[in-house]
């Protein structure tokens, strides 16, 4: 997909430079780099900075940025805008993410590409509004009602907040699905160096267009081609169960079965192409203890692993970049020769529970809530206890 002239001009001012940015800000710049045309959001700590920077910068690149009256409206607006062919996104935190769930389900059901940034904060409810957490992992997977699948990625640095946006938008367009960037408040509010790539290196995936008259909601492919408003195709988009041509049919069981399973399989059968992890095996190859982590926690976790190795221990490490679909193959392989896997996370064991399903060894959740991230010492101590 070509980058338009306004965006080119805007990005030419940034490319090749390094900036000292908040994770939230890096996310905003990364979205513009990734071709975001439209942002709609609502203020919420710790995600407001995404909206604020988008409001400042997106118009300069020729994009449209608006503030809606609430999060439900923000999610609604980005879906409507997506059907005009635009790359759209919103940003929020836990309480707003909860409000968006109904419309996220609508995006899943209508196979609307869009990106939702959830900068997780300590919950439930208002919780510790200004403190980080990783408690929305399961909500990202199952927050909206009904059987569905979803893609969620988790950055662990400001640079990754920037880099992963391109991946989010590409995955959304390729698989015609909402994609969630599961940031945590710690990464959202960290300030780090972010390097802006050259515009010439940018390559965006594009939505597969439907041929005129071709069905937009089904067919022989797992991901049908899409058409947009104003193309004269009379496209009928509905959240009700529908046939391949988009027309409602809630009475025929086979229609629902076919639609829901295909939407589910779109992501399920493309795991190889979607799931990314960052393994870091012990150099000896003989570790019996492993640590799996993601997001902000992965940094003290890797620090702890390195500390333990420096103290002569053999420890394997893996960071999950893709949270959903879950990296079950990679986790199973990782656990093959291990006796125990430690899972530090800022929640009550949501990823640990998922890992348990795919490994035979012991899984120990190092859960820490209260708004303060794990320290290297805490995790090192836990590793030493089991080594």
């Amino acid at each position: 997909m070509a980058i338009n002239q306004n965006k080119q001009r805007y990005l030419s001012r940034l490319e090749g430079k390094t900036y000292f940015l908040l994770g939230d800000e890096a996310c905003a710049y990364g979205s513009i780099y990734a071709g975001c045309d439209f942002f709609a959001g609502y203020p919420i700590t710790p995600a407001s900075e995404v909206a604020e920077l988008m409001a400042e910068e997106l118009p300069k690149a020729g994009g449209i940025c608006i503030q809606m009256e609430d999060e439900l409206a923000s999610m609604a607006a980005i879906i409507g805008a997506s059907w005009t062919g635009a790359r759209t996104m919103t940003a929020t935190s836990g309480p707003g993410f909860s409000l968006m769930q109904e419309n996220i389900g609508y995006a899943v059901m209508t196979e609307t590409p869009c990106v939702i940034v959830d900068v997780q904060r300590s919950g439930p409810s208002t919780g510790q509004a200004t403190k980080p957490a990783q408690g929305d992992v399961m909500q990202a997977r199952w927050g909206t009602h009904g059987d569905h699948n979803i893609i969620a990625l988790s950055p662990n640095s400001a640079q990754e907040c920037f880099d992963l946006m391109a991946e989010c938008f590409d995955l959304a367009d390729i698989y015609r699905t909402p994609v969630i960037l599961l940031m945590d408040g710690e990464v959202g509010h960290i300030r780090e160096s972010v390097a802006m790539p050259a515009v010439s290196s940018l390559k965006h995936a594009a939505r597969k267009p439907a041929q005129p008259g071709e069905d937009v909601f089904g067919g022989s492919e797992l991901v049908p081609g899409i058409t947009h408003y104003g193309a004269g195709q009379n496209v009928h988009v509905t959240g009700s169960t529908h046939k391949a041509n988009g027309m409602r049919d809630v009475t025929t069981p086979e229609v629902h079965d076919r639609l829901i399973r295909r939407i589910y399989r779109k992501i399920d059968e493309n795991r190889e192409k979607i799931v990314r992890v960052e393994p870091n095996r012990d150099p000896s190859g003989g570790a019996r203890v492993g640590v799996i982590s993601f997001g902000a926690t992965s940094r003290p976790a890797l620090g702890a692993v390195k500390q333990a190795r420096a103290d002569g221990k053999q420890v394997d490490f893996m960071r999950l970049i893709t949270i959903w679909p879950f990296a079950r193959k990679q986790v199973t392989e990782f656990a093959e020769n291990l006796d125990i896997i430690l899972v530090p996370e800022m929640n009550l064991g949501q990823i640990a529970r998922e890992i348990e399903r795919f490994v035979r060894c012991e899984v120990k959740s190092l859960s820490k809530i209260g708004g303060v991230p794990h320290t290297v010492f805490e995790i090192t101590h836990a590793i030493m206890e089991v080594c």
Partner: protein
């Protein structure tokens, strides 16, 4: 001799007609008047996007109107429509949905869109009940009425939606009933032919899930009541609140020019783009 085809069938998805609305349903009349208005205005459906929520009236455009349509979650069509409109200001975006949808659960989006004066046309079909789900009380149900969720009596006063939308800042606001088909058609044309938030509250009959419960047995009788209880806005100005109790004040409540949201938004974006162009080509 074969029955001739109605000249407006081109605007409708003929393969699924006759539609599913009940006998005498006002939604059918609104669909009828709407396609007449589109035809008279010479609007091309290929330049339109119709957005609707959940409820019987939302079925007017989705699936029956032959154009690009967006059938959204309950109460949110105006928010979805906002996303469509700001990215494609050249398309005529029309929202058609019910009172429970737009003014009940969706009330927040309604008042903000009116405040922004965003260029959307909204036809709110007000049948004073949640019809599709079987006849539950709505924020527009008159006081005292027995419905399935107010089986003893409704203790709440109803909204005067058109007045609410006018107060929120909409550019064009009118109220008619499904009896006033000619006035409604003209108002629909006016609404679709102007810029800004153009809103019509259409009082409509739901014979099966409202009329039946209040003892008004047929669509005909409900329409007769609309006619009998309608008061022109010019006349209503001289009437007291008590005299207006139970009446429908019909006519145009306001028709004013105000800055329009999409225009302002694109103006701002163009300003910023120009600044960057200046900076990078200097």
């Amino acid at each position: 001799m074969a029955t001739p085809r109605h000249r407006l069938m081109d605007y409708v998805r003929e393969e699924i007609m006759p539609h599913r609305f009940c006998v005498g349903c006002g939604c059918g009349t609104v669909l009828n008047v709407f396609v007449n208005a589109v035809d008279e205005l010479k609007l091309k459906p290929t330049n339109m996007v119709c957005v609707s929520g959940i409820g019987c009236s939302a079925w007017i455009p989705s699936p029956y109107f032959k154009a690009d349509t967006l059938h959204t979650t309950h109460g949110r069509p105006i928010a979805f429509a906002t996303g469509v409109k700001v990215m494609r200001p050249d398309l005529k975006v029309v929202v058609i949905a019910g009172d429970g949808d737009i003014a009940g659960i969706g009330g927040n989006h309604l008042i903000h869109a009116a405040r922004r004066n965003i260029d959307l046309t909204v036809f709110l079909v007000n049948n004073m009940i949640y019809g599709m789900t079987g006849g539950q009380a709505a924020p527009t149900t008159p006081t005292g009425v027995r419905t399935t969720t107010t089986p003893h009596r409704n203790i709440e006063p109803p909204f005067h939606i058109a007045d609410l939308v006018k107060a929120a800042g909409a550019g064009f606001v009118a109220r008619w009933t499904t009896f006033h088909v000619f006035q409604l058609m003209r108002a629909m044309q006016q609404a679709m032919d102007r810029k800004g938030f153009s809103f019509i509250e259409i009082v409509s009959q739901c014979p099966d899930n409202y009329g039946r419960r209040i003892g008004v047995k047929s669509a005909v009788d409900m329409l007769k009541q609309f006619k009998a209880n309608s008061v022109r806005i010019s006349k209503a100005a001289d009437m007291s609140e008590e005299e207006l109790e139970g009446k429908f004040v019909v006519g145009t409540l306001c028709d004013r020019d105000r800055p329009e949201y999409t225009d302002e938004l694109h103006k701002l974006t163009a300003e910023q783009v120009a600044l960057i162009k200046k900076e990078t080509t200097a």
